[in-house]
Symmetry: none
Subunit: 413 residues, 2 copies
């Protein structure tokens, strides 16, 4: 079974944005054994859309298009495809109601062109859009190549593609599948991780192991093609287990959706422990990350952003001498911040962040110098991290939050 991916968008042709949709769709198709031999990108132009469809339908069983389903006048994919397939567009009343309802909820006036988003190809199967307004479409073409229409924004396209996968498996009776699993790591470099997996990469040729950076995390993807000959799931599980045992401090999840913060919040809940923080460097980013997890209020009631030295004294009662004698970026200040925040908030655990986000240095400490404090597990723990001076302000702050989560996770688990 062969498929072509057609991406539609002037922004792609102008090189304004990278085509992450083609990558996402291609990976999902590879997973279920559909071969992609061509990817084509064109603009919002009906003639070009139809020309691309003509070429693609001559060399493929399936065409997956993304983009151009929106409400504006330059969104032309649906009518162009309908004309090519010699079918009509049908207005889905239910979807139109949903769209109108959205406008009401957001107190905005309905704009007539939004009707286009509620249309789908007559004879096709509409695909619901849970993160946007435009319907997608799966058109099984008895006379030729099947066509799928997906929206352009990745936040809408990706979940719709995820829902399409089982529909494709079902429609095409796909039996042999790629089984894959993800392993998420924090605190180890990609090259170190891979070098410690050298033996597995060569030995177990059935399981392919690929690494990539995902934000501040390193993800491994283990993949095996299930050809029905043996228990592929068991083989991949075994490799996963071997890797997990090698990196107990770095490997934290095999669930794509699950963040390290969510794991920490769940552990805190199950152990009935509360947490607070005093944040200088990160200025609220840690607490905001904790509160990003639904139900965080069970373990978190609030905390402090103490950016200046004077506020560290005022809100946390840290003696001025401590900061003067040791410097604000020091183990001693981190200890006081963690201890005092947990005492004031009556929390079991207190975390603190003090450091130099840059670009300038502070008290002779270069940008990237960070002290973390962690109260609540016996004697208060500190950890110094020296990020590279070339690391960005954003990255230093985000990695500090991740490092603190990792410290807490290692203590709790």
């Amino acid at each position: 079974m062969q498929a072509e991916i057609i991406s539609i968008g002037t922004e792609l042709l102008l090189g304004r944005i990278v085509n992450s949709n083609a990558k996402y769709i291609a990976a999902k198709l590879a997973d279920i054994g559909i071969e992609v031999r061509y990817q084509t990108t064109i603009g919002d132009n009906p003639a070009h859309i139809q020309e691309a469809l003509k070429i693609a339908s001559q060399r493929n069983d399936l065409i997956i298009m993304s983009g151009g389903l929106g409400p504006t006048l330059d969104d032309m994919t649906k009518p162009a495809v309908a004309e090519f397939l010699k079918t009509n567009l049908i207005l889905d009343d239910q979807q139109l109601d949903r769209i109108k309802q959205k406008f009401v909820e957001q107190n905005r006036q309905f704009v007539e062109t939004n009707i286009r988003q509620a249309q789908y190809l007559a004879g096709g199967q509409k695909l619901l859009n849970h993160h946007g307004l435009a319907l997608g479409d799966f058109y099984q073409n008895e006379a030729g190549t099947d066509v799928v229409l997906l929206p352009g924004p990745p936040s809408e396209m990706e979940p719709m593609m995820d829902e399409l996968v089982p529909i494709l498996i079902d429609s095409y009776h796909l039996k042999h599948q790629l089984i894959s699993t993800v392993m998420k790591f924090y605190g180890i470099s990609e090259s170190q991780l891979m070098s410690e997996l050298d033996d597995l990469v060569s030995e177990s040729s059935r399981v392919s192991i690929a690494s990539y950076g995902k934000g501040n995390e390193i993800w491994l993807r283990l993949t095996i093609f299930d050809d029905g000959q043996d228990d592929a799931q068991q083989i991949i599980d075994q490799v996963q287990q071997t890797i997990a045992q090698r990196f107990p401090s770095y490997y934290f999840s095999d669930n794509v959706q699950e963040s390290l913060a969510a794991i920490v919040v769940e552990l805190l809940k199950s152990k009935h422990k509360t947490i607070t923080a005093a944040e200088s460097l990160t200025a609220g980013m840690f607490q905001s990350t904790i509160a990003s997890v639904p139900g965080a209020s069970q373990i978190f009631t609030g905390g402090f952003v103490t950016y200046s030295n004077q506020v560290k004294e005022q809100l946390l009662g840290i003696p001025a001498e401590i900061i003067n004698q040791n410097g604000v970026v020091s183990a001693e200040t981190a200890i006081y911040m963690a201890d005092n925040s947990s005492k004031i908030m009556h929390s079991n655990i207190g975390v603190s962040f003090t450091g130099v986000a840059g670009p300038d240095s502070l008290e002779g400490n270069p940008a990237g110098t960070v002290w973390l404090g962690l109260a609540g597990f016996g004697e208060t723990i500190t950890k110094k991290i020296q990020f590279a001076t070339t690391e960005s302000r954003k990255s230093i702050r985000e990695k500090s939050v991740m490092s603190a989560l990792q410290m807490i996770w290692l203590q709790l688990k």
Copy 2:
């Protein structure tokens, strides 16, 4: 002048990597007025390379290919292109010496297949590779479409493309360039923005106006092709000014790098005003956003994360009756939070966030109900926002931060 970009690589077709080369090449071509109407991705397969060349040469003046120039057996671009163009490959002795020299330097044994990297198309102009071993090529085809060969690894391709740009300008006598500008908006939907620009989209056909969502912002890109006939820069400036005047509350910057937070921090600095916050819903995200701007310490010393009702009383001194009588998600609570935080922190401005991030409702308020408070501009201002119940927890919190920044910005400017 029209060009097609052909990317070659199995990794692209499998969705293992994103096609950043197509974006880079497209942007460079757009800059010098070469229009890209098609981008095609294929695998390392001679038949597919030749098929793609055939299609592309029928519809373009120039084809830029990247990938498949390496030393391994699956790198097939050069011989496939040579066959298509009915020309030969010539071995460049100087390049071969360079390659062999590299192997000596790295203490590695020369591998015979590396000879391929020193080949170029007879009749073509070789392009030097300063970051790798494979030669590129610019083949001007008197009988048809010109072809450029670039290596696949971005670290090699990008500098070679940079060097190619002046060669293309010279060869094609390109004088006219694309001028473009970006306009950034917050607080208005894409469809509403575009519908209020309908007249400009049709009237001033010289300036093309494209909209797209960028995170929680809406960006417009205005583009004009400078054909030397008139003052294109002046025309685009005029359209930009017209749009800016239509949306004084939503349009905040024409600088891609500049965030709304950075604008607010700069305004605070220039007006010598300090800011603090009491955050419930957002739990530190606002303060963290302010502190993401270098130099924020001049206008921000710290603040509060008051997640639970009890902590709102403890840290901010909000009377329990206020919360009990009005509810925690209310104008009254927002006012007390903003007022008291600015008083305690001796800040000119105090911002507060209280609301329901979801997924569950709270005190009868559905997820997405948000009250913002803003003290420091005369009587304390409040703003209620009702996000759609389908909006994610993450999005509700992020948009609340953006909305508060917008409120402050409108007061300051």
